[in-house]
């Protein structure tokens, strides 16, 4: 590992996994670049109607 450690992380993908990871890292004190290919974040989960097994709204 190189000596000069940089206190930032790049998260590639703005779906549910990427967003969760980015928030955790930012809250832990790291600068985060969240990179998403599409014009907005949210990923596949935003397209779902309800989620199992609680039938909660996915939005």
């Amino acid at each position: 590992m190189s000596k000069d450690v940089i206190g930032s992380v790049m998260v590639i993908g703005g779906g549910i996994a990427g967003m969760r990871s980015a928030i955790d890292l930012a809250d832990a004190g790291y600068y985060v670049y969240l990179v998403e290919k599409k014009p907005s974040i949210g990923g596949v989960m935003s397209q779902l109607d309800k989620t199992f097994p609680t039938n909660d709204c996915a939005m």
């Binding site: 992380v9 996994a17 990427g18």
Partner: protein
């Protein structure tokens, strides 16, 4: 946040990567776009809407969905008439904010980062190449993703269940499972996509909810895989209560019926009969695939892939890729559901942060606080800012009239209207006005507090006002946008809303956000594999850990396991992990120790530990519950009466001890679901199918001639575990399916060990003689009640802890500062327990890293003089914020812990003595709003 961006190249090493990115132009200035949507209204070009899975069209200038973040429009350069042909320009002409910029160019960026987390997701398998399903040629054959949009209120049919071809309400819908999964003949995806069984059941149940009981839903499946927490119950309910039909059959042909839009489905049922049924709609449960561009990216990054094109990981390092400093989460780690993705993503954050902990906070900035002006005791001096929002409000509401009306209201000192109140220059003007006019209350009449309250509060803070001296009147989302055709009434409503806001804000008081120190130590309860992992992650991020273990050794259930599903030896890896914990000076291990009592709350917990009767008190800020689970001791199948009948873990023990007797066995059987998926224990233990198959293959390795039978109900080798199932069948292991009402019978016939079972293929009773029977026993949680009461958390009907949110908060509790991992949450294999151990640590670090917590200002406060000590608030509060005062003049009365209070107001409404106020939503403030209605009603 970098949207419309793609990674092109990564150089460097862990701790110091250089990443080259391409950012595609949005052709809209994000800082100017106000998301009014006028551009899309005027755009003449219709394009297929990918968000709605192509079922409807959108415009070439668009926002993906109504709640998109960032809520900024975007021009689709491939379809925009101006950008492709140089004509049109409608959006530029209509945009009230001047945000359209056709000259934006693709940008190349270079960023330096310490680590990288990959979460590129998946794509659904495209069934159009399988012409057998008629997906491409028939409108009423849809994918599950498309059906999801059909069910959605924001979808093409606004949530009305109708088929695509003729908008008819379907009466019969069929789901086909495993389309593009578990199939090497028609596609190359041998793995199981893990989530399709559950989503198909969900879609069927919701469809019946929409359409009523006369809708017939049939799911055609190979094995039903409902191996997640509370999934089996969901399946049982769908089958027994909702009446979804489950048909264990692979459909053999689908024929469109000429002259109608229906489809004929032919299949062989369980009794071997050929059946033909006609359905209105067919939903294909399509599986996961890693998109080709992601495969390319991973190859470019030098990250190893599995045969299914997912990132390769080790069970003991489940979110680390083959390249140091690059971590993964979500579907790239293998097909998985949302909670598993969320667990992985926190785990990846933990790993990515751990290697950078020396540089923590080096690149983040902390804002300087501006001293607050004292306003208590001064008469209200209210400023009202009315927003036009371009023409979004002003096009309907007479903004000038609202502004002039506001000026007539009591205590209003200043009014103005703005084109865009939210723009940076207006914010600067607002701050100046507050200072120069000595305003001490502010009302903004504009869009909605849901999106813009924080922005305006920030401006108040910048001008030295307490941020709670603010109120918004919602005259866009709940007025101008919804009463377009009635400008007069909309204007009147706007005036009413402004009047209500003014009368409320006049009564607002500056509120304090209490600050509370967080104790920087952690407690981890349970020294099994997930507790060990959590401890190491926390210590790695620089925190002191107290690790408490009930027994006299570390390791937990993993001590009994031979190999992981990916074939890694558990014992070697486990001892390495234990050594790491024992040699870490930040981790203090307490063996043979139990928790006697716990008090306190997030940031300030205190527990008494008892080690062999000796008590010790410790203080800590966060707690991680990793209390594990154990194997059921069965009371059936001659266990205990015949030493040839073992449990899974006992067989593992023989493997670990290299028992020479094992290779001498001629025939062995495994019985699945022993104690799981039964009425008394209606959950699936998740790991047993894979584990038995793995052990069966190990036996085959010792003696390839051995006859091995696996007696099962559904084989649940989810994800890439499916390869093991395939290998087992290829190696001649015989799988026999049984039903709950027809369980196999084990008998001892003159010393011979015999199993009687009805073979599902032959439909005949068969007798199997074996030398060894292994029972795949259920995973049982310990009695968690006491611990649950210590931390005010709950356990479910099965005895597992209830997490904060089934999807989004799997590794934490509703009680702040308490986290969850491992088998205590739900049965799971080692790799998932490790991931969750890391995830719980990650979630805990986000709290510890703050050092202090700020409470919200809008919380409940009790006046002890009025409190009658009835205790209703204590029993009703979902967050355990109220408690009895134990000393001082008000002993016996109730106080509310400002740290735990979330400001819901439940206690305020339930207090019979009127002793509780809710700051910011107090009685007098709400009554002021109600009284201000007078003129309106």
């Amino acid at each position: 946040m970098l949207t419309l961006s793609e990674v092109k190249q990564v150089t460097g090493d862990a701790g110091n990567f250089e990443v080259n990115l391409i950012q595609h132009p949005r052709y809209i200035d994000e800082s100017k776009c106000i998301a009014c949507g006028m551009c899309a209204e005027k755009c003449p070009k219709k394009v297929v809407d990918v968000y709605n899975t192509g079922l409807v069209n959108r415009k070439a200038v668009y926002v993906e969905y109504a709640q998109a973040v960032p809520l900024k429009y975007c021009i689709d350069a491939e379809n925009c008439l101006y950008l492709t042909k140089g004509k049109c320009g409608n959006c530029e002409n209509i945009c009230p904010a001047g945000a359209i910029d056709y000259t934006q160019k693709e940008k190349s960026l270079t960023l330096n980062v310490g680590s990288i987390v990959l979460a590129p997701g998946f794509k659904s398998f495209d069934p159009s190449k399988l012409d057998f399903y008629n997906y491409a040629s028939h409108k009423n054959v849809v994918t599950a993703a498309e059906f999801e949009r059909i069910l959605s209120a924001s979808g093409p049919t606004m949530g009305h269940l109708a088929r695509i071809s003729d908008k008819k309400e379907p009466k019969k819908i069929a789901w086909f499972q495993c389309v593009g999964s578990r199939d090497v003949n028609k596609c190359d995806n041998a793995y199981c996509s893990s989530v399709c069984c559950m989503y198909a059941i969900k879609e069927a149940a919701i469809a019946k909810e929409h359409a009523g009981d006369d809708l017939d839903c049939a799911i055609f499946y190979m094995d039903i895989r409902t191996h997640g927490k509370d999934f089996e119950r969901y399946y049982n309910d769908a089958k027994d209560k909702t009446g979804v039909r489950f048909i264990n059959s692979r459909v053999h042909s689908v024929l469109p019926i000429h002259g109608s839009d229906d489809l004929e489905v032919r299949y062989v049922d369980e009794s071997g009969k050929l059946i033909s049924e006609i359905f209105d709609m067919i939903v294909l449960s399509t599986g996961f695939e890693t998109p080709p561009e992601v495969v390319e990216l991973l190859n470019d990054l030098d990250v190893d892939l599995t045969e299914g094109n997912f990132a390769k990981t080790s069970a003991f390092n489940p979110v680390a890729t083959s390249r140091d400093g690059i971590y993964i989460c979500g579907a790239i780690a293998g097909p998985r559901d949302i909670p598993q993705s969320v667990v992985d993503s926190s785990a990846a954050a933990s790993d990515a942060g751990e290697i950078l902990s020396s540089a923590r906070n080096s690149l983040t900035t902390v804002k300087e606080a501006i001293p607050e002006t004292q306003v208590v005791g001064d008469p209200p001096k209210i400023g009202v800012f009315v927003c036009k929002c371009g023409i979004n409000i002003a096009g309907v509401v007479d903004v000038e009239a609202v502004r002039d009306y506001a000026a007539t209201l009591p205590y209003v000192e200043y009014v103005c209207d703005n084109l865009y109140t939210c723009s940076q220059d207006t914010q600067d003007i607002m701050a100046d006005v507050i200072k120069s006019k000595n305003l001490n209350r502010v009302v903004v009449a504009a869009c909605t507090p849901k999106t813009h309250e924080p922005l305006f509060q920030e401006t108040l803070l910048c001008s030295g006002l307490n941020k709670y001296l603010f109120e918004m009147a919602n005259i866009r989302n709940q007025d101008s946008w919804v009463h377009k055709n009635n400008p007069e009434l909309a204007t009147k409503k706007a005036m009413d809303l402004v009047r209500m806001a003014v009368s409320k804000v006049a009564l607002m008081e500056p509120l304090e956000e209490a600050e509370l120190e967080i104790n920087q130590e952690a407690l981890v309860i349970g020294g099994g594999i997930s507790g060990l992992t959590s401890s190491i992650s926390l210590a790695g991020q620089g925190y002191n850990v107290n690790l408490v273990e009930k027994s006299d050794v570390l390791g937990g259930q993993a001590l009994n396991i031979y190999k992981t599903a990916s074939g890694e030896y558990v014992q070697e890896n486990l001892s390495a992990l234990i050594k790491k914990v024992e040699s870490n000076e930040k981790i203090k291990v307490y063996l043979k120790t139990e928790i006697v009592s716990t008090e306190g709350f997030v940031g300030n917990f205190k527990s008494v530990l008892s080690t062999g009767g000796e008590e010790k008190s410790i203080e800590y800020g966060v707690s991680i519950v990793a209390t594990g689970a154990s194997a059921l001791e069965p009371d059936e199948y001659n266990y205990k009466t015949d030493e040839r009948v073992l449990t899974s873990l006992e067989l593992d023990r023989k493997f670990i001890d290299k028992d020479p007797e094992l290779s001498k066995i001629n025939s062995a059987a495994f019985i699945q679901c022993v104690g799981s998926r039964e009425p008394g224990r209606p959950y699936c233990s998740r790991v047993c199918c894979t584990h038995s198959i793995e052990n069966a293959l190990e036996l085959k390795k010792l003696n390839p001639e051995m006859n091995i039978y696996i007696l099962y109900r559904d084989i649940r080798t989810f994800g890439e575990r499916e390869y093991l199932y395939k290998e087992a069948r290829n190696k001649g292991i015989i799988f026999i399916k049984y039903k709950l009402d027809n369980k196999p019978e084990v008998v001892n016939k003159d010393g011979r060990l015999i199993i009687n079972i009805v073979d599902h293929v032959l439909r005949q009773p068969v007798e199997i003689e074996v030398d060894l029977i292994t029972l795949a026993t259920a995973i049982l949680p310990p009695d968690n009640q006491q611990l649950a009461s210590f931390y005010k958390v709950s356990v479910n009907d099965d005895g597992f802890f209830v997490e904060k949110h089934a999807k989004l908060g799997p590794s934490e509790f509703a009680t702040d500062g308490v986290f969850l991992c491992g088998l205590a949450h739900y049965p799971k294999p080692i790799e998932e327990a490790i991931a969750q151990g890391k995830a719980a640590a990650s979630r805990a670090v986000t709290l510890l890293a703050k050092k202090k917590i700020n409470t919200i200002g809008t919380i409940a406060k009790i006046n002890p003089m009025n409190c009658s000590s009835c205790g209703v608030c204590i029993s009703i509060c979902p967050y355990s914020a109220p408690s009895y005062i134990e000393e001082g003049p008000f002993t016996g009365k109730v106080k509310i812990n400002p740290v735990l209070c979330k400001g819901c107001g439940l206690c305020v409404a339930s207090c019979r003595s009127g002793a509780i106020n809710l700051k910011g939503f107090d009685n007098d403030q709400i009554f002021a709003q109600i009284y201000a209605l007078k003129e309106a009603v």
